[in-house]
Amino acid sequence: MNNKLPGRGPLSRRSFLAGAGGAAALVTAAGCGDSTPMTALPTNTASTTNAITDADILNFALNLEYLEAEFYLRAVTGSGLSDADVGSGAGAVTGGTQVVFKTPAIQQYAQEIANDELAHVRFLRKALGSAAVSRPAIDLSNSFNAAAMAAGIGSAFNPFADENSFIVGAFTFEDVGVTAYHGAAGLLTSKTYLAAAAGILATEAYHAGEIRTLITELGAPYLTYANQISALRAAAGGGAETMLSGSTIVAADSNSISYDRTTDQVLHIVYLSAASGVVSKGGFFPNGLNGTIKATAS
């Protein structure tokens, strides 16, 4: 009982991380090596910490919440954030159509997460006040196709095609949000913002736990897709992934502590770029994020 549980499988949490380099080759030959930093806050963020304000970090989070809110709201209602929730001069959103839910429970799950992400957008915009960035341009179509290609799923993937594909689409975001907020929590100087970030972050972890549970219930091929996406995220985002199975619902390290990612690592993932190199746009954000945290340092 003290050892690995039988269901945890041959790929332990650690060994999966170590093996993430292979998937990096799918993205590009350039970014294979760096899958080590995942416990301490890596230096590339630390070196710029002095320049980063709490508002910068909250705006970084707001960009991610715009993305999630657009994804879920469009899936559930067919339309995205209203003009009142996106700021002036907001970027356009490409793709995203109402999913035809056949299972009432899945629709109810989706509605709840959509409500939460909308609430997060509104909360962060309110907390930031006039400093809040507007919604950047968001791509929910070409991005998923490119991710599917890079992950080896196929030449195209439409997360709005049916309710099961929707769950896989949701999986693409949720664990990333958890790692992003976890990494950001340590950078915040305000205790008030820290408390707020912790509250949003735990909600993202609930979402992630729920989505991961549902995917294990769906089984193949969705479970395979999810793990291909997970490997892609690991390759671009410094490891920090736990291969999904019935006995690994939680994404966490060998101490059962969830991963964190630097803003650079998160940017590499959402830009669908290699793990190294300076990038400032791509993937889900074709014109980049809005705000000061936008380009990767390396």
């Binding site: 909360f123 340590g186 912790a198 735990a202 909600t203 609930y206 939680v250 101490n255 059962s256």
Partner: protein, 298 residues
């Protein structure tokens, strides 16, 4: 007796040593007490908070380990002793508590959570070192009966009797763990500990979501029971409104236990104590901790 034997001398020396140690100990305790008083004005120390968390992790680890193996954590190789070697308190539980699982994915989830909670105990013990508290007395029998009565679910409740009962038993802990870590996060001064606490907080949220998703799927009776438990927790912590059971509200599921801002709730240590003591007085304990917790926050 003509002369003092070597043994007697040794005894005398021992007594003297003990006596001086006691005196010294008394002074040290007085100093500590003063120190605590000083700290009380600015909040608990990081060690106080980690020990508070360790109490909760002992409770969770015992519950899950007993449910999945029929054994206590010390029987499977973990230490319940304090960092200084004080023996851990007893665990009160029914005979043969091992749950008969019939759903493979649920059994795997239970195994995973067991491993995670054991890891949390070990991690906190390692972080605290000599300062780690011993396991307090834990009750996993009368406690559930008392809570069931308070929640209007009957005069007895055996969380080990069936899969659904196990889910409800787990439900009682997981959301409380999330709120406790969230409340504690703002009190921790060390950035390193904060990062780890946030990471554990996330993992508890993954657990809570997985458990709540399965309660949702178990049907309306299980959902109603979770709502009754949530109401009871909210009553015990004195707010009456900071806890949401599993169900459907306005077409949206309530998998996440959070507020209108999409944020999970935070509880103070006092509120958490009131819940796990079943309303018992601080310092006295009750329910899951019949002789109170160990450590300074109790």
């Amino acid at each position: 007796m003509e002369h003092i034997t070597e043994t007697e001398l040794q005894l005398q020396n021992d007594k003297r040593t003990r006596r001086s140690a006691l005196l010294l100990g008394g002074a040290a305790l007085a100093g500590l007490a003063l120190g605590q008083k000083a700290f009380a004005q600015t909040g608990p120390t990081d060690n106080d908070i980690l020990n508070f968390a360790l109490n909760l992790e002992f409770l969770e680890a015992q519950f899950y380990t007993l449910a999945t193996t029929g054994m206590t954590i010390d029987q499977v190789g973990l230490s319940t002793k304090s960092g200084g070697g004080t023996a851990g308190g007893a665990v009160t539980v029914k005979a043969n508590p091992k749950v008969t699982f019939t759903t493979p994915l649920l059994q795997q989830l239970a195994g995973e959570i067991t491993q995670d909670e054991q890891n949390h105990v070990k991690f906190l013990q390692a972080a605290l070192g000599a300062n780690a508290i011993a396991q307090p007395k834990i009750d996993l029998m009368n406690s559930f009966n008392a809570l069931a009565s308070a929640a209007g679910l009957g005069s007895t409740f055996d969380p080990f009797a069936s899969e659904t009962n196990f889910l409800l038993g787990a439900f009682i802990f997981e959301d409380v763990g999330v709120t406790a870590y969230q409340g504690a996060a703002g009190l921790i001064t060390s950035k390193t500990y904060l990062d780890k606490a946030v990471g554990i907080h996330n993992v508890e949220a993954y657990h809570a979501a997985a458990i709540r998703t399965r309660i949702f799927q178990a049907g309306t009776a299980a959902q109603s029971a979770s709502q009754a438990i949530a109401r009871t927790r909210a009553t015990l912590d004195g707010t009456g409104n900071d806890d949401i059971g599993v169900g459907v509200t306005n077409g949206a599921a309530t998998i996440v236990d959070n507020d209108a801002n999409g944020m999970t709730y935070a509880r103070t240590t006092t509120q958490v104590l009131s819940i796990v003591y079943g309303g018992g007085a601080a310092g006295t304990g009750g329910a899951f901790f019949p002789s109170a917790m160990n450590g300074t926050i109790k």
